[in-house]
Subunit: 133 residues, 3 copies
Amino acid sequence: MPVQLEVRTENKSELRDISSKVKEAVSESGVKQGVCHVFVPHTTAGLTLNENWDPDVRGDLVRALQALVPDVRFRHGEGNSPAHLLATLVGASQTLLIRDGQLLLGTWQGIYLAEFDGPRSRRVLVKVVADPD
Amino acid sequence: MPVQLEVRTENKSELRDISSKVKEAVSESGVKQGVCHVFVPHTTAGLTLNENWDPDVRGDLVRALQALVPDVRFRHGEGNSPAHLLATLVGASQTLLIRDGQLLLGTWQGIYLAEFDGPRSRRVLVKVVADPD
Amino acid sequence: MPVQLEVRTENKSELRDISSKVKEAVSESGVKQGVCHVFVPHTTAGLTLNENWDPDVRGDLVRALQALVPDVRFRHGEGNSPAHLLATLVGASQTLLIRDGQLLLGTWQGIYLAEFDGPRSRRVLVKVVADPD
């Protein structure tokens, strides 16, 4: 069964590190060899992997993503079409690999909830699947 | 075995809702706990999850994606390099989670074939995988 | 266990075809029905599927992706924030389907490591998972 994480965001737009929560879910699953699917059931947020060390990278990413939104006349009444666009560009899911009970992330890779229409309380689903025998 | 959906698009660029077809494939698989991989075997179309309610969101997305294409001098003779670019940005696959025979989508999430070089007849592959025992 | 590919890139930015290496990993796994997860453990490179025939498409994609980077003032000291942005837009993983021992790619689909901060030696992880019985 998928585990559901609750993630509280604090800004309109931010990258929130969920690496430790995802690692905990992997650890609690007891799975040693398998994959870990992470999924965001929202349409104005996404999931991405990026640098976990210099926080300036996250700041740069957030500002660059915002600046990427083209100046078209959006019609959606809620006014958050830019957030929907960024959600589509970043994507709602990631599939990670597990070896010997550990997520196979690169040294500099962190897992981020990409918030584009916060602050909000967001859900992230984590499903760990063991390799078939 | 993957199920193959046929999706007819009617515009140069559009987001076509394939949610009910994907749900049908999940239902017909009989799988109760597992994952559902959706894949587009094309290079000028993609797959995305986004809002399923206000159709203005899809219109905004299509126009914003088109406006995102930078004004560089494309060399590819077919003239559809913008479509190839958008296919890479949106992505060709999505992995969805299944619990109790249902796709775990958010309330507002629909599954869309993103057409960037239509109108065409497109294929979408859906593979439902049950959790190993 | 995932197979690790070594991929040498030769330019600052390029799309390097890894299709034959991934197909080899699938073939060596002996898996007939299943999925193939491909993952890049880097934060300035990504993975994408796109046209495998006219090399002008890759050139167009590389130039368009570079041109997409907005002109914001990046703060990250290493100066490669544009590469981090493009890695997030393109994505770090792909899930491919396997039927009868073959990857289910479209006729024109190749698998590419997208290098945005090269030249470097990159790693790509390939994990082939058979369907459970």
